[in-house]
Each structure stands twice: as C-alpha cells, then as structure tokens.
Symmetry: C2
Subunit: 118 residues, 2 copies
C-alpha cells in the first residue's frame, strides 16, 4: 500500500496517534433489533470469511449475550496486526459489498490496544 | 452460596436461561467524558484487584481506544467460570463500595458466550 493511501486511511479512521504498528483489537458492538439476531450473525459470518483472507488478520471471536435486554446483543472482538491492515481490509470489504446486515442493526466499531491485562 | 441467593442473582441480572455453568465473558463498554480517562482506569484497577480475588475469576483485559471520538473509550473483556460466580463477585464488590468511577462515566456491562471463533 502506498504511503499516501495509509495516510488517507489513518485520517479516515480518525486515529489519535500516528500509524500504530503493534497489534490492535477491533471491538464492534452491535445493537440488534428483536428477531434479527440470526440474520445479523449470518451477515457477520460472510464478513468474517472475507476479512480472514486479508493481510494482517489474526483472529476473531463473536460474542452473543446471555443477559436479557443487553444493549449490545452481539459483540465482535478481533485482532489485527495493525490499524492500517484493518482499515485496508475493511475498505476492500466495503468495496466488495460483502457485509449486508439487516437495515436496523447499529454497529459501533472502534480500534483498541490492551492497556491492562491480568 | 445458598440456592435462593443464586436464584435472586440470576433474576437480578436477567439471564435469559437457567444457570450457565460454562465460561462466560463479561464485556463492559465505558462511555468516558473528556478528561476522565485516567480516573476511570484508576477506579477500574481497584475493581479488578478486588474481583481477581473472588471465586470463579479467570482473567481480564482492559482496552483503550486508539480511534478518535470512539463512543466507548474503554472496554473491559473478562472471563469468569460462570454467570453465578460473576454475579456473586460483583455483589460483593458493590457491598464493599470498591468501584468508584467518575460520576459521569456510563458503564454497559453484559455477559456473553463465544458463539463463533476463528
């Protein structure tokens, strides 16, 4: 990927710091309208299959709530080699039109680093 | 813990199913007002120190956002041996008054199981 592309992606995602080269964690919380859980999981699986083939992908875990009326019924936690790799992969995914969740699903993706572990 | 206490906790947390004996994942997203990140982390560390000593605790990771204006600046992902163990531990923590985040911090805790991993 060319340097100006990396810069554009960095600006697009609004990173607070310069290019992060350490592993990053995508945490994506999904607000899922009643009755849309299975359709959302199916859409997520298609996205996962696409993203798992992209450079920099490490792993992912989709979590389903066991708490009644959880605000976020599904939460994806995925590891990537860098913020740039994640952004490039999701750009590719958007261009390919792979992720098609039900219309009322609200996703809240953001990138994180682990700041404390025990 | 007596059976009726477990039942009361199960109802309090609003579990959709009966007592879950498999590992569960607590995901707690924090909405943190500007300038309150460090104070929230300090409060979380005190809670972590308390909870790590309780029965059923497995591990925890606190994530800090690297995305500008992330809706959730901090996200805790913790593993527990069961929903009952987590609920008993957090009851103890509340009784002890250990977790004292800044007043405007909004926490959204819920329990999950991993439904897809790759």
């Amino acid at each position: 990927m060319k340097p100006f592309t990396i810069l554009a992606l960095t600006l697009a995602l609004g990173l607070t710091e310069g290019p992060a080269l350490a592993d990053v964690v995508l945490i994506n919380t999904f607000e899922v309208p009643k009755g849309q859980r299975e359709a959302t999981i199916t859409a997520w699986e298609a996205a996962r299959d696409f993203l798992a083939e992209q450079p920099g992908y490490i792993s992912t875990e989709l979590h389903g709530s066991v708490t009644q009326q959880a605000r976020f019924e599904l939460v994806n936690v995925a590891r990537w080699e860098s913020a740039q790799a994640f952004m490039a992969a999701t750009e590719e995914m958007r261009a390919a039109g792979v992720f098609q969740p039900p219309a009322d699903v609200i996703a809240n993706p953001a990138l994180y680093t682990v700041i404390a572990a025990d």
